[in-house]
Symmetry: C2
Subunit: 219 residues, 2 copies
Amino acid sequence: MPKLTQEAIEENKEHIEEAAKQLFIKHGFHGTSMRLIAAQADVSLGNLYNYYKTKEDILQSIINKYELIINTRLKEIFDDIEEPLLPDNLVNFGKKVQSLVEEHYEFWLLMYIDVLEFQNRHCRKMFENLAERLNKRFYKHFDELKENKTINTGVDPGVAFTVAYLQFFNYFLIEKLFGGNNHLGISDSEAIVKISQLFSRAIFKPNALDLLHANNSKS
Amino acid sequence: MPKLTQEAIEENKEHIEEAAKQLFIKHGFHGTSMRLIAAQADVSLGNLYNYYKTKEDILQSIINKYELIINTRLKEIFDDIEEPLLPDNLVNFGKKVQSLVEEHYEFWLLMYIDVLEFQNRHCRKMFENLAERLNKRFYKHFDELKENKTINTGVDPGVAFTVAYLQFFNYFLIEKLFGGNNHLGISDSEAIVKISQLFSRAIFKPNALDLLHANNSKS
DNA sequence: TTATAAAGAACGGACGTTCATTTTCTAGTT
DNA sequence: AACTAGAAAATGAACGTCCGTTCTTTATAA
């Protein structure tokens, strides 16, 4: 047999990893056997080892690729919004986080596997210096808010946005994975609005908020 | 050997479960073997089956007991604070959540096991109707705030407190389990203050907040 | 023809659980 | 006070299965 093209190899790996992912999130890492992965991927047991050195290599590869997907999605979301702290944009951001969590909830299950079985070795970089990184991404918007004096004294927009960001993720993860169905006692879309409202009130001075609302109802 | 007293049985189980818990949270459920549990608990392999029908029974028992501990601690915290939305009390509440998470982070690891292997079957009741239950617990305080008109229009104190509650938990879980060391870019105690500040601003009308601060600096 | 991919048998060991055996301690009898 | 019978607890070897990985063999296609 001639050497497979890099593309073909990548395709085959994709196929194997999709099968492995489904099993990992259902039975955990140690609860999933190489035989099961081989069967689910319709590949022989031995052949798995032509693509991966060990079982952990498979998990590693899945997480690496998934991280890329998530980070790309996040970047898209951020690029779409640009000024995330404005009340309406916060609502929009919440909706986008909802889609992200619902489409890719499997990633967070993988992260829980990582937390449990590897002390989050593979995923921990997603949380390191989170506020700083968000600050860097949005420094223009945040600096503008600070100069405008539209935000409350003592409020760091970077910290505030990071908190809001985590709040949305946490809300939808609880809804999707932890079985809290409408745990705030209101629908998801109402929850987004309420949470956004809380953060808007927390961040903006009352008169600035009134102004924003006036502008909004005009348009 | 004569029959052990119920108390002695309970003590032995406690001992076994402590060992099993340490292993489960380190290697996951399937990553932990009965032999390892036996060794860690200094008990023979066979004897484990005098106390538990299966390995899953051990996990079940651990989670059941831990749930009781957490709920008791939460009740204590709530009884200690009574009016959790007042700014100073919110800071206090945050500190207590910090202690709770740091002392019992193992429980949340067990919950992730439950999420992964049992769709959170054992723990999901902790999130069901969360806001409603907190509302019931604090209806007096919340109703008073509503009547006083000290809170912003459109803010439901029950929802606001539930969001703050989850925010604190989430913050410390990220710090403890997900490897975000000071992920907000500030120390834990600063984070508590900042988050509390955000929620205070979100909930209370500005003049009410000024009044609360004035009262506070007087005392 | 030949390098390589795919296959699955084979290996050594570990798994959850069972079971025959031994140890332990109380209660009743000397 | 010493002894003993017996029930329950504790033990670890044994069972059958499955594990991750390796290795030999076969199939494939330029």
